[in-house]
Structure formats: C-alpha cells, structure tokens
Symmetry: C2
Subunit: 490 residues, 2 copies
C-alpha cells in the first residue's frame, strides 16, 4: 500500500501495476470503508496541522470559529471546522496578493502557476508545489487506470491549455500513466477541423475534453462527412461541466463516437480534481476518499447527510501541501450512495453525478438572478404566503421568467368578496421584482398550498431552457438546473 505511512505522501514514480490488474493500488481501493477511515483521519490530521502551522488564513479562521487541530480526533469532528467559500479565497487573495496566506510552501518550491479566468471579477491564483504536482500526476494516473486507460494508449487532450487546470491535470495523469499524450488543445480558429483530421490520422485510444466540445467536434466531423466512429476512440473522459454523467447526454456521446463516456471532476481548487471520477463500470463518479476527502453535506448546516440523501460536496485535500483546501464548499448539488459498485472499489459514489447548484443563480436575458433575491423581495410584500417557485423557459431565443407566488390565507379569505385584490397583489409583486431584478417577470398568484414544498432553494427553480432537463427526463427525480456556468449543449 503505497504512500501510507508518511505525510506528505511520496509515491514511487516508476510504479505501474500489471496491465491486466484492475486496480492501481488494490488494497487502498477495495478495503472496507470503515478501515479506510483510519487512513483518512491520519491524513486529515496531518493536513490540518500543516495548514495551522503555515497559514495565517486558516489559523485566524479557525481561531475565530473556536477550533484547533487538536479537536480533530475522529472523522466526525471534521465538520466543526468551518467551510471555506470561493468568495473567501478571492477576498484573501485580494488582501494578500497574489495568492493569499494559504500557500503553505516555500515560494521557491512552486512548480506551476494556474488560475481561474476571472470572468466574474478578480481571478483566483493557484500556486502548486513541485511535490504536489507529482502527487497530482500519481493520483490522476491511478484514477485513469480505473477508467480503463493503460500505458501506451494515446490520449488526445482537446481542451484549452492555459489557466484552466483541467487540461493540465489530464496531461499530468497521462504522462505518469506512461500514455502517449497528445496535448492538442483548443482555442484557435479552425482548430476543431484540424482536430478531426488529426484524430483520423492518429486514431488515439482516448479523448479528454468537455461534453459540449465533444458534441461540437461531432458536428464539425459531420460537416466534413467524417464519422466520429472512425476516430477509433475507446474511452472518452470528461470534466469541466455536467453532462457526461447525465444518462441522455452520455448515451448520445457513446452512440456518436462508439466509445465509453466517463464523467469526472470536482473543482479546480481541489486539484487532483479527478478525485471525483467514474470507473470503467460507469455507475456514477466514485469519491476517491483517500485522495481528496469529500462529504456530501446539508447546505444549511454543512454536516454530512446520510448516504442516499442529497446535499452539497464539501472537499478536503489529503495530499496537498501548497494551498491545501480544508472544507471547501462546492455549492454543487448531488446525491451520494455507498451501494457497492461492480468494480469492487469501496468508495462512495455520486450515482447521477453533479446535477445542480445550491446557490441556484440563474442568468436570464443576461441578468444574474438569484431566487434568494426574489424571495427577499416577495417577503417585503403584504399578502405573500411564504412559498414561491421560479420557472424559466425559452421561447425561441427569448428567456421567460415566471414567478409563481402563493398568497396568504388572509388574502384568500378576503379575495372571496374582493375580486380585485389578487390583481392588485400581482401588480405590486411584478413592480417590486422588476425594480430588484432589472428584468420584468410574469407573476402568477397561486392559492396557499399549491406549490411543492422543497428541501433546498434549488428546488424552487425550474429551468426549462437547458438540454439537461431532456436528458434527465428518464430519471426518477424531477429535472434540475445544471451547475453554474455550464455551457449549453445545443
């Protein structure tokens, strides 16, 4: 069992399993989950101690919260440590540029600089240490092995090589796996057409990118009268947006390319981001808990929910010394299970991948709309019954925002004798919402008890614009919104 005893762990960069071996580290991947917990706890304690000793950011945050590394005696103690939000990281980097006070290594040991593109303001800087980069490569190679990739396979990496860490993580894993890496990238005019030609010419075993790019590639191939099946791909693995884990999209990609479609990815900050990844059985992303520890949590209390329940992933690094993330709140929405997977790995799984957001921000006609803002506005209005639902649709190119708001029992009683009352309430709601949101919604006043009661805010939004809904139609739950910023897949 490689890398167990010491922390930070050191992996043998020359190790490779026999090609017919199913697991990279058989013992670590198949041990009873309870036994694994001891291993995880030891790494958690080491990581928390490492951060406490080196990061004023964490020390101050934990001191304010009244916690200390000594409090972490059992896994159950972890949730006493407050979650970290992305906004907090951005604020920390702005106050202590460029990378904030949570870089826990010597600047001379930084091997790679990456970051987010910062479309919503100041970008986030990632400084990754040399030893971390090797561990990331080892973790990704191990997980890619679980996807069915083997030494000598050619891996075509089709996403942009720049700040975005997705492409680089796939490349690092492929190199460590002893694959033939073809870092084709993206970004320049005509490059998808060139990709079609190079795929035909070189016939790689594997493809990495986003699901929407794979579908775009298929369209470009079709326009050239090329059948994507002629690329001869065996495995296509994805990250960067939901899609590969959604049955309808997965089926479509598998039919078009004739290759197995696998979902992966947590967050850029959590690199090795492949710690959420499907194995070759494709029964939902495994949480490779000995690499990054993930708890699916109640989005109000941030305590772990029971298996079978829905919540938001909260991630903690177990192998990172540079910028370790301890309880980073993803804001994603998922459901986890510990039902066994055919592959024999004993990790929990996300059987339907990541399918929504807890902060449920929507972009409607170019405006950022938070249902929480709708709720705040409605609550200032006398006669609002307390429950509401947001329905977004697209008629041709135009987004439509419908707010269904229940009126109070009091209004219901009075409306029986004052029929204009509901019309006046509707107009008041529409005017206030327009002022707040910057766009005009259609308001419908509904009798008390009409709307479904939901567990999370996200359930209050029905976004009928995206293709995800179609894809989810066969699933057992009602449709959800995709993750924030997920490109459409039309």
């Amino acid at each position: 069992m490689n890398g167990t005893a010491a922390w930070p762990p050191v992996y043998d960069d020359e190790y490779l399993p026999a090609p017919d071996q199913r697991y990279w580290f058989p013992e670590r991947e198949t041990m009873p989950a309870g036994e694994r917990d001891a291993f995880i706890l030891a790494r958690l304690r080491a990581t928390v101690r490492w951060a406490w000793e080196r990061s004023p950011f964490y020390r101050e945050k934990w001191t304010r919260a009244g916690v200390h590394p000594d409090h972490l005696r059992r896994l159950e103690d972890l949730h006493r440590f407050p979650v970290v939000t992305k906004e907090e990281l951005r604020a920390e980097q702005a106050a202590h540029p460029p990378a904030g006070r949570y870089v826990c290594i010597d600047p001379a040991d930084v091997a790679r600089v990456h970051g987010t593109s910062g479309t919503t303001g100041k970008p986030t800087v990632f400084l990754i240490g040399r030893d971390d980069w090797r561990r990331i490569a080892n973790a990704h190679a191990r997980i890619m092995w679980g996807m069915g990739l083997r030494p000598g396979d050619m891996i075509f990496i089709a996403s942009f090589f720049s700040l975005y860490i997705g492409s680089w993580g796939a490349l690092a894993g492929g190199e460590r796996l002893r694959a033939a890496c073809f870092p084709f990238g993206a970004g320049q005019p005509g490059q998808t057409l060139r990709a079609v030609r190079w795929l035909l010419e070189t016939r790689p075993a594997a493809f990495y990118g986003t699901p929407s790019y794979a579908l775009h590639l298929a369209e470009v191939a079709a326009s050239e009268r090329v059948d994507p099946r002629d690329f001869g791909l065996r495995v296509m693995f994805f990250s960067g947006e939901p899609g590969a884990g959604i049955p309808g999209t997965r089926r479509r990609i598998e039919e078009i390319f004739g290759a197995a479609c696998l979902d992966s990815g947590s967050m850029a900050e959590m690199t090795p981001w492949m710690s959420n990844a499907e194995c070759a059985c494709r029964s939902g992303m495994h949480l490779w808990q000995d690499v990054v520890y993930c708890q699916v949590c109640d989005p109000r209390t941030f305590e772990p929910v029971r298996y079978g329940r829905e919540g938001t992933p909260v991630y903690t690094h177990l192998e990172r010394t540079s910028q370790p993330m301890i309880r980073l709140l993803s804001g994603d929405l998922t459901r986890w299970t510990d039902d066994p997977c055919e592959c024999g790995r004993t990790y929990p799984r996300l059987p339907r991948g990541i399918y929504g957001r807890i902060d449920d921000m929507c972009i409607i006609r170019g405006a950022n709309v938070y249902p929480s803002a709708i709720e705040d506005t409605l609550r200032t209005i006398d006669g609002f019954g307390g429950e509401f639902q947001v329905v977004i649709s697209r008629e041709r190119a135009m987004d439509e925002l419908v707010v269904r708001a229940e009126y109070s029992a009091e209004v219901a009683r009075r409306a029986a004798t004052a029929p204009d009352l509901l019309q006046a309430l509707r107009e008041r709601m529409a005017a206030r919402l327009t002022a707040t949101l910057g766009i005009r919604p259609i308001v419908r006043c509904e009798p008390p008890g009409t709307l479904p009661r939901t567990e999370f805010k996200a359930r209050r939004v029905l976004d009928n614009r995206a293709l995800y809904e179609t894809a989810l139609a066969g699933a057992d739950d009602p449709p959800r919104r995709p993750g924030r910023g997920a490109p459409g897949q039309a």
Copy 2:
C-alpha cells in the same frame, strides 16, 4: 561530466548546479573545441548506428547513397551522409502513415505527440519517446541556465500550447530547471489583455514567446496605460521566428520591457530546439554542439563552410532515439564563427542569428514565387544575359515585383542599331514570367555587368517589405529577407 559514457545518455533529473555557478556542466561547455569533437563523434556514431538498425527510411536512403555507418570514422566523414529535407520527411510520412519509418523506438515508449500545423498541405507528425522527453528537458534546462535563469524564477510562457513544440519545449526546460512555470498560452480572444493583467499581478522573472507577440503585448499594455517595465521581467527568450537576434528588434524589445532579450531556436524537428541559443552575454546564438551537432554548410555541396562564412545549418541529433534527424537541411541562412564568447563557452556562434533562407521563396500578393522559377523562365528566352535580380517592395498595401534582367552582349551590340529590340525583349520576358508566376512583374532590362554577382540564390532577392531590413540597416552586410513564414513585426 554528466551523460558522457553511455548512449543513449541518461541524465540525473535531480542534478542542479550551485546558483552562482555560470555553467550547468562546466567541463562540457568550456572544453577546447577539438576535445569536444571526440565526444561528438562517439555520439554521432551511436546515433547513426541506432538509426541504421531501426529505420528502413535511413537504411534505404544511405544504401542508395553508398554510405554505411562504418564509414563514419572521423567528423569529416559526416558530410558523406546525404542531407534529409523536410519534403522527404513529409513524403515518407505520407507513404508510411502516420509518422514514417524513422520512428526508432517501440510505439509503447512514445510519450508525446506533436506536429506541424501543415498550412502547406499534409502536417508532419512528431512522436517523441519518454526518455527523449527527459533528455530534452535536461538539455533545455541547461541552456536556460546559460541564459541566466535559475530555480525559483517564474517563467511566463506566452505562446500557444498545441501542436507547436516551442511552448512545450520551454515548459519542459523550465520544469527541469525547478522554475515556477506559468504556461499561460495564447489563442483565445482577449487573452493578451488577460496576459497584461496576470503579468502585472504575478511579476514573473522571465517571458517566453515570439518577438512579434512581445511587441503585440506591449501595444495592448500601452492601450491599457500599462508600462511593460512594470511587469518586472528580467529575461525574455524567444524562438519561432527571426527577430530577437536582429539588433534593432532586440534593442526595441529591451527598451520597452527593460529586460534582456535572448534569441534561440533551430527547427521543430530538431527538438531540443534550444541547441541554438544565446547565453546571457547575447553575442549571437551558441551552437550547443554536444546536444545537437550543427554544421553550417555550403547550400550547393552541403559541405561545412569555414568559420566566418555564410551557409545553411545542417543539424544532426546526438541524444534522440525517437525520430533522430541525421543531417536535416534547415534551408536557413546564417554565418558562423568560432570567435570566443565572453561567457567562456567554447561553442561556435551565429553572431547575427538566422537571417534568411537559401530557398528564397517569396509570397507576393498571395502567390508563392521562387526566384528559381524566374531564373528557369528567363533562361528559355533568347537574349537573356544570365544574371538577374528580384526586388520586392510594398507601396501602401500592394506588393510590387520587379525583375531586373541583364541582356546578353549580343543584344547589347544589336540594340545599338535596333532601338526597339530591348522593348521587345522586355515584353517577351514579362509575358513569359506572368504565365509562369501567376502575377505580373515589372521587368527592367539592364546592360551586361550591371547587377551584383551573388554567392547564393537568396542574394538575388531584395525584399523591401519587411521590417527586418530596417533592423538590419546598422549591420555590416546588406539587408536580407527574413526566414520563410516569419510573421511581420509591425
């Protein structure tokens, strides 16, 4: 002296010189050139033997030429091996796809797939072995050390990460050097503006890209009222096009950025392409002969010219097992010298870098024009005197092609009594050239002995369109054309 005895050489990936040490491998870099020759010969013989045993391409080519690895007893024997041209490589790959029969390693050992973009037809595929990739990283790190880069320096890599091997070679060298690599890339809209922001934010020690991109970056910075000196760069190293070695362009870049500007680069096929590279003294690119052996050759006989003379570089790999290039003809034009450099390295140098092409193809109003085609056409015309000159200029946006052709002594004698004779000759030349070239030139008939006699075809072309001429104006030789496909630097 690392990596001397065995072939293929194996380098210690953990080795680093002391930071104040000038040389990475002091002995190898400063030994008398004559002593180095023995070292080079041993590697040459091993490389040629390796290719003979594994590559039907080389075996057939050398058998046709009547040479055999046993004939390589002294360095002077090398030119008995015929040069390889890029056209030959393309034809070989077309006949034996995808990579031709000069991949001399097991396909399972391929680590990286790259290539040329193939703007002029079929692209060229590079398959680089795992051990070669490590050797490339070691060679580049060593040469970057000579540029003055040190562990912990942050290197901002500003060129596109895709097929183009330039960015990847700089990254591999930076990683091996233990630098903090920031592979920013290029290609997406708005990325140069983002580069300005990230450079200001992270203040890297070094920049890699093309000279024309550095000048473009400076323009974008100026439009944002950012002074590129505020990036705090210390070293800027370049490849991919001439420019960094041209005094005027170098001065301009150094003034704008306040950083040292260094030239490097041989050919993508020759990766480690940094085997041509300036040291911190910036007195012209050294030929790191123990990494890639370069002979500056007569472009007709392909025999090495004496130091001080002009010719075309012919390159031979000394450390590559995958796709080794043995006597690859560059077609570039340069002059070499063995005058000592201040740095103490005993490598020959290219004091003015690479400043032209021997095949002197010109692109005029979108048409590819070879002076050889002009010559062939003129030679079919009775009355042509045998010497000609091509002058290309640009008036506003329009290219102008002027062909100055001497008439024969016979025509000169007859023209004294038949004044229309020259006019008729001129019209005949113009008509035939228009038919051949696809564009209409202005023809001027000149008396015998008017035009300068030149050593190479390239001297017959004066291209007054490019900025290189302005940059070269201060130099001791008349202006030349830039390399083929070199982007303009406006």
